[in-house]
C-alpha cells in the first residue's frame, strides 16, 4: 500500500467496516456452544420452520420463474409506451418496507380487501394459511429476479437473436434456444437473490399470513418467536439462515464470473 498516511487511513476505514459488519455474524456462531446450537436444530419447532421455509420458498420461486422469465424477456426486447412506468411498478416492492407490503397484500387480497371476494369465491384461503406465505414471498422476492432477468436479457447480443430468426427459428424457439441459454448466468444470479430475499421474509408474512408452527411460521418468524423464550434455538435457526445466505452469495459470484458489465 503506497501513499503513506492516506493508505493507512483507507486501511483503517476498511478494518472498521469489516469489524462492524462481520462481528455480529460471527457472534451468531460463537455466542452459544456449538453442541447446544446443533441440539436446538433437532427440536420439532425448528425442523417444522425449516421444512415450511423450504416448501414455501420453492413454490414462490417456481411462480416467479414461470411468470417472471417471459415478462422480463418482453420488457428487455421490446420498446413500447409506458415501459419505464411498468418497470418502476415492478421494482417498487424492492424499496417497500415489509410492513407496507403486508398491509398492501391485506388491502388487495385479504378477506375484506379489494379482491377478497374473488379469492374467497375461488375457494382459496390465503390469510392464516400456507398459501398466504407463498403470496407474501412471491410479492417481495419477484422484483429481485425480474430486475436481474431484464438486465440479463438486455445484455444478450441482438445479432444472435436476429441470426436465429433469419435462420428460420420461430420467436418462441429463439427465446428457448438462444435467449435463455445466453442469459443463463444472469437468470441464475437473479434466482439466487430472489431465493435469499424469500428465505429472509418476515414482516409481510407475519402481517398477511400470521405465525403458526408448520402452517405459516417460516424460519424468520420462528426466530422471532423463540427470541424471548429460547435464545439458543433462535441462534441455531439464525446460523442456518446465515449459512444458506452465504452459500447463495458465493454461488452468485461463481455463476457470474468476472462481470464485464461491472454489475
Amino acid at each position: 500500500m503506497s501513499g503513506g498516511w492516506f493508505g493507512a487511513l483507507l486501511t483503517l476505514a476498511l478494518a472498521a467496516v469489516l469489524a462492524f459488519l462481520a462481528i455480529p455474524v460471527v457472534a451468531i456462531f460463537v455466542q452459544q456452544p456449538p453442541g447446544d446450537v446443533i441440539a436446538a436444530l433437532g427440536e420439532e419447532g425448528a425442523l417444522d420452520a425449516l421444512w415450511l421455509s423450504l416448501r414455501t420458498t420453492s413454490a414462490a420461486l417456481a411462480i416467479i420463474l414461470v411468470f417472471g422469465t417471459p415478462a422480463a424477456y418482453l420488457l428487455a426486447t421490446r420498446r413500447f409506451r409506458g415501459r419505464a412506468a411498468v418497470i418502476t411498478v415492478i421494482e417498487l416492492p424492492l424499496v417497500l418496507p415489509p410492513a407496507v407490503a403486508g398491509i398492501a397484500l391485506l388491502a388487495a387480497v385479504g378477506p375484506s380487501g379489494l379482491l377478497g371476494g374473488l379469492v374467497e369465491d375461488a375457494g382459496l384461503q390465503l390469510t392464516l394459511a400456507t398459501a398466504g406465505v407463498v403470496v407474501a414471498l412471491t410479492f417481495v422476492a419477484a422484483p429481485f429476479y425480474l430486475r436481474q432477468a431484464i438486465a440479463a436479457f438486455e445484455a444478450v447480443d441482438t445479432t444472435l437473436l436476429d441470426a436465429s430468426r433469419t435462420l428460420g427459428a420461430s420467436p418462441a424457439r429463439t427465446f428457448w434456444r438462444v435467449a435463455i441459454p445466453t442469459a443463463l448466468g444472469g437468470l441464475a444470479a437473479g434466482t439466487a437473490l430472489a431465493l435469499g430475499r424469500a428465505l429472509g421474509e418476515f414482516g409481510a408474512t407475519l402481517m398477511f399470513a400470521g405465525s403458526f408452527r408448520g402452517i405459516t411460521q417460516t424460519v424468520p418468524l420462528a426466530i422471532y418467536d423463540q427470541f424471548a423464550t429460547d435464545f439458543t434455538g433462535a441462534i441455531a435457526l439464525s446460523a442456518v439462515l446465515v449459512a444458506i445466505s452465504a452459500a447463495l452469495l458465493a454461488a452468485v459470484k461463481l455463476v457470474r464470473g468476472p462481470d464485464p458489465l461491472g454489475r
Binding site: 455466542q31 375484506s112 380487501g113 390469510t127 392464516l128 407475519l206 400470521g210 405465525s211 422471532y224
Partner: protein, 257 residues
C-alpha cells in the same frame, strides 16, 4: 456475554432518551421551574388514555414516553430524568421502590382479558370457540398477553382447552397483531386486553370473560425519587387516581383498582 453487551449499551440508550427529553422541552414552557416539561414514562397500553388526558393537565406541560414497562423501568434504574413511572403491572414499580428509585407506588387501574370478535360475528361466548373451523388468533407464548391468555384457558376443562387450541391459527408477537387480524377479517376471534378492544373502535366487539377464569392485571404508578418536578409529578399521580386521567382510563376500557 449478552448481558455484558446490554450493560454497555444501556447508558447510551438512556443518554439518548435524556437528550430527547431536553429537546422536547425546548418548545413549551410549563409552569414548572426552568420551563421544562413533566416527563411521564408509561406502559404502551396507556397511550390512548394518557394522551387524551395529558393535554388537559394544567400544572405542567406533560411529555410522555410510551414503551414496554420493563424497558422504561430499566431507564429509570439507569437514572433517566423521569418524573412519573406508570407500569402495566405492580411488581416492577414495587421492585423499583425497594431499590430506592421510586416513591411508594399506588395501584391506579386494572385491565382484563376479553374475547374480541369482529362486530358482526355470531360468536357470543368462550363456548363458541370449540366449534371446528373457528379461526382463533392469540398472543404467542412468552408475550404477556399470550401468557395471560393461556392462564385463562388453563381454567377450562381439558377437552374444551384441546378444542380451542386446535382452532388457533396464529401466535402473534404482540396485541396489535391480534387486533389487526380481527379488523382485517382474517380471524374470527382473538384474546386481547379490554383497553385494546376499546381502542380498536366499532370494528371489534368485546365479549367479557367470567371473572372466575382469570385475575385482572393491575397497573401501578409512582413518583420517581428526587424527580426534577416533584410537585407536578405528585399532582399528576393524583389526577391519574381521581382526576381527568382517571376518567380517561375508565373511558378507555380500564377498570378501577
Amino acid at each position: 456475554m449478552r448481558r455484558a453487551i446490554l450493560v454497555l449499551l444501556l447508558p447510551a440508550l438512556v443518554a439518548g432518551c435524556g437528550d430527547d427529553a431536553t429537546v422536547g422541552d425546548g418548545g413549551g414552557s410549563g409552569t414548572g421551574g426552568g420551563g421544562a416539561a413533566l416527563v411521564v414514562s408509561a406502559a404502551s397500553s396507556l397511550k390512548e388514555a394518557f394522551t387524551a388526558c395529558g393535554a388537559q393537565f394544567d400544572q405542567a406541560k406533560v411529555q410522555f414516553q410510551f414503551a414496554g414497562s420493563d424497558e422504561l423501568g430499566a431507564q429509570i434504574r439507569q437514572g433517566a430524568p423521569v418524573d412519573v413511572f406508570a407500569a402495566a403491572n405492580t411488581s416492577l414499580p414495587e421492585a423499583l421502590a425497594q431499590e430506592g428509585k421510586l416513591e411508594q407506588p399506588v395501584n391506579f387501574a386494572t385491565n382484563r382479558l376479553v374475547l374480541a370478535v369482529p362486530a358482526d360475528s355470531d360468536i357470543a361466548s368462550l363456548d363458541d370457540l370449540v366449534k371446528p373451523g373457528v379461526k382463533l388468533v392469540v398472543g404467542a407464548e412468552g408475550v404477556p398477553v399470550g401468557d395471560y391468555t393461556r392462564k385463562v384457558l388453563a381454567n377450562l376443562g381439558a377437552e374444551e382447552i384441546a378444542a380451542i387450541l386446535a382452532n388457533v391459527r396464529s401466535n402473534e408477537p404482540d396485541v396489535k397483531g391480534v387486533v389487526g387480524k380481527l379488523t382485517q377479517g382474517a380471524a374470527d376471534a382473538g384474546f386481547v386486553y379490554a383497553s385494546d378492544a376499546k381502542a380498536a373502535g366499532d370494528d371489534i366487539k368485546a365479549i367479557e370473560i367470567p371473572d372466575a377464569l382469570g385475575p385482572t392485571a393491575t397497573y401501578a404508578a409512582g413518583v420517581v425519587k428526587d424527580a426534577p418536578h416533584g410537585d407536578a409529578a405528585q399532582a399528576f399521580l393524583d389526577d391519574v387516581q381521581s382526576g381527568a386521567c382517571h376518567d380517561a382510563l375508565l373511558k378507555g376500557g380500564f377498570g378501577a383498582p
